[in-house]
């Protein structure tokens, strides 16, 4: 059932299209049944669609959405369905009829349903109230700032770096000059798999024996990454490393458009050098196990590993302009 799997990064789109698709299917089935003269009463159709949406949100989406959010979606979809069933006076009457029939007890069956409802509704609401009054201890939600504002300068291995002006010394063209356009052209393809552009060209394959300059530094950065970083950030830089299960939340996913893709390279340099302990308060420095890499790596190694992360994910670092 591979095709049913929620694909990381595409999940919101997938969810919206799946929901839209199923509503479309409902509409078609409804239309077909009406044509065939076997139309479902709007009362039941409305309730059915609403229950379907609730079940979808509860069981399909992972990680699970909290109840409060599902309650909001439930109210919104309930309003939408209400507008649908009460589109015209006739439709509204049709929708109301089953409820009124039960209230009036127009037949023995309806009387039975009325008696059952009279018992079940107070019990259900009482039970619901009991559950919400029962002390329960869910994990508290703590919202941290994922990308806090960086300082103007940072001091690594005794050298001060002005984050606005410093450049990655390894992001260079064949002449040894800083050249972002040159290096951007040599990163992996932004297609499924994010593969290198040409495995037989020393300009694109860091492992080519003839690789020189930028692309060779990428390999050196990768070597550092796979000796230090992949334990948490994962072999595919997606935050699903060997020990991701021990984290809360799981480590940063660099293949997501919300991390390194929207940051300046110097910001990443600062984050890597100073680690969790170097974060300002809003970044929860007490909870982050991100090592201050200046304790383990040289400045050159940090620049190389940052460059490797951009190469491997196929993102361009954000520029200042």
């Amino acid at each position: 059932m591979t095709w049913l799997k929620l694909v990381e990064g595409y999940m919101p789109m997938q969810m919206i299209s799946e929901l839209a698709g199923s509503i479309l299917v409902f509409a078609l089935v409804n239309w077909a049944l009406n044509r065939a003269g076997m139309g479902i009463p709007k009362f039941w159709a409305g309730i059915g669609v609403w229950i379907y949406i609730q079940l979808y949100l509860k069981y399909r989406i992972y990680p699970p959405i909290p109840f409060s959010v599902r309650a909001i979606y439930g109210t919104v979809s309930g309003c939408g369905i209400f507008m649908w069933v009460s589109g015209s006076e006739g439709e509204w009457q049709e929708f109301k009829r089953p409820i009124l029939n039960v209230m009036d007890g127009i037949s023995g069956f309806h009387k039975g349903v009325r008696t059952a409802a009279l018992i079940v509704i107070p019990l259900a609401l009482g039970g619901f109230a009991y559950n919400s009054f029962l002390p329960s201890f869910e994990e508290p939600i703590e919202l941290r700032t994922v990308h806090p504002a960086p300082p103007a300068t940072t001091k690594v291995h005794g050298k001060t770096f002005v984050l606005q002006v410093v450049e990655n010394p390894y992001r260079v063209n064949d002449d040894g000059k800083y050249d972002q356009a040159f290096t951007d052209a040599r990163i992996v393809e932004q297609a499924m798999g994010r593969l290198m552009k040409d495995v037989n060209d020393p300009n694109y394959n860091p492992w080519d024996p003839n690789a020189e300059g930028y692309i060779k530094y990428v390999r050196e950065g990768g070597e550092i990454f796979f000796q230090n970083c992949h334990f948490c950030h994962g072999d595919n830089l997606n935050g699903r490393g060997l020990w991701a299960y021990a984290f809360n939340p799981i480590p940063a996913n660099f293949t997501d458009a919300g991390t390194i893709a929207q940051l300046q390279e110097t910001f990443v340099f600062w984050r890597v050098s100073k680690g969790g302990i170097g974060l300002p308060g809003e970044g929860f420095p007490w909870a982050s196990v991100m090592p201050p890499w200046e304790q383990h790596l040289t400045v050159d190694e940090i620049w190389k590993v940052v460059m490797f992360e951009y190469w491997h994910t196929g993102y361009y670092p954000r520029t200042w302009d």
Partner: protein, 609 residues
Amino acid sequence: MSKSRYGINVARWGVCLGFSVLLGFLGLPLSSMAQEDLPEGFKQQGLPSPPPAEQIEAGKRVYFTKCVWCHGVEGAGDGPGAVRLWPRPRNFNAGTFKIRHTASGQLPLIDLDLLQTVTHGLPGSAMPSWEGILTEQQRKDVLAFVTTQLVQDRSWQDEEFEEFFVLELEKLAPKEGTPESIKRGSELVVEKKCIECHGLEGRGDGNAFNLKDDWGFSIQPADWHKCWNFRGSRQDPYNVKNIFRTFSTGLNGTPMPSFADNTSVDERWDIANYVNSLCEREQEIKAPQGTVTDETALTFSTSQPLGIDPLTDKPKSNFVVPSKFVEGDLPTDENDERWNLIPRRWIAMGGQITHKPRNFVNRIDDMWVRALYNETHIEFMFRWDDRTKSIQEDEVDWDPTEVNLEDYGVEEQAPQGTTFEEDPFHQESIAAKQKDGYAVYNDGVAFQFPIKWQELPAPRKPRYFWGDERFAADITKWTADGTLGVYEGTGWDQDFTEVDFQEEVEVVKAEWANGQWTVIVKRPLKGDYDEVAYLEQGKYIPMVFFAWDGHNGDVGRKMAVSAFYYLVMEPPIPMSTYIYPGLITVGIVIIEGWVLGRRANRRKDKGQA
């Protein structure tokens, strides 16, 4: 396509026929021929056709983007990532693969076994699941490259030497995991000598440090209690078929043999059912010394598996550690019924790699915790799997409060040596090379609370790693030499300060048995407010767990560590919980009566009008 397969079959039959004639002439019994020798549950299958050159080229591009970093340029399992990994990345050259549907010693099926490995990854190792990252085509392409270019000593097209006896897993209906089957399995694992390596209770403690793989690297028997770490679990850890497959085909390159020849299919299902039942479930089930009574077998067969988190393929974490109030004295051992008042919590642990010396090879990856409290004390029961009981033999040179142990020779291993011979730094290599001649430290467990957590500006906490300058941590640490202490920590590199609380804490029980530690620690709820955590009912108290495996060289900062958890001492249920829902129910009955009455009156009015 069908034509070429037909061609291969003709060729195969030709070879077979030729051989049989030859053997017949030589007077050798025909029963030595493969067809007759097939173990129960296997069928013979032809050789696969070679992949087209374009596919190999496409696979090369995948390999050099994704795989080379660990598996190396020549596929010898010696990429830059290899030096800090255990288990090591696979060396493809010899064509030795662990997880297969094929008989022992044979090559795996590319489009089934290897594709599943790439798709689902190998849990418990660094090999991730590549599903959703590489398309199915890309995964097949990379296998075409690996199997033709990097597997050098053997070939899937070698008609002379290769044959494929394939376990017909899809055709064999699994035997239901009934209590009888589980009980029989528990007897068979003794009879078939599984327990010699996997241990009496299946925690992999039977022969923990003498086993080596084909390359000489140390290898440890699987812990049956953590099926989510089974390499062949295929992101479906509680599926008994995975165990049946491994047991039937063995793990090539490791001491794990195939049992296809000396067990019937029926016996294999019984063993697989038993091994599967040992994997941890919601309910803690003990079969001491591996003895399964009828009652235990029934509990095994009916208990619910743990929920598996699809993001990590490990059990789902709940970061709240509940503690319940009990009247009177707290339990004195692990068998006290009152422990069952609360669910046990699974504490996920990773290696400490924030500060030196880092722990890249953590042997302890989880722990189970329960907590109970009374008016004056709280008691924690920690249980974790550790294949070896480690107690340092010589007197420890340093004081329990010292944390910077570099001066005593406790240093981080440098990343070097991609072969067993070249690797002097990994503890497990040293262990495999010289069984007795390496440093063993104390096993241990510790937990930390913030001191004066009531005053922390939420959500501020002392740093997870022994607090920080501004906010100190209260650390309770037990080591296997019997030391239990409460310390104040003010930073990862700051020596602990002993707190005047030592006499108040107590090790109620500390026992290692069959690969599992049980440690019960009791401490008062309250002490000096400024020096120790002052534990209160109904509050979220941040908590971090630490664990050391002495045989892994864990000591000082080299250990396993968890994320932040919250201890909650659940207060008794207040009366309002019962009163308000009752009032609400009565209120709704009144409203119902009013609505129906109004409706009936309106109808009556209408009727009269």
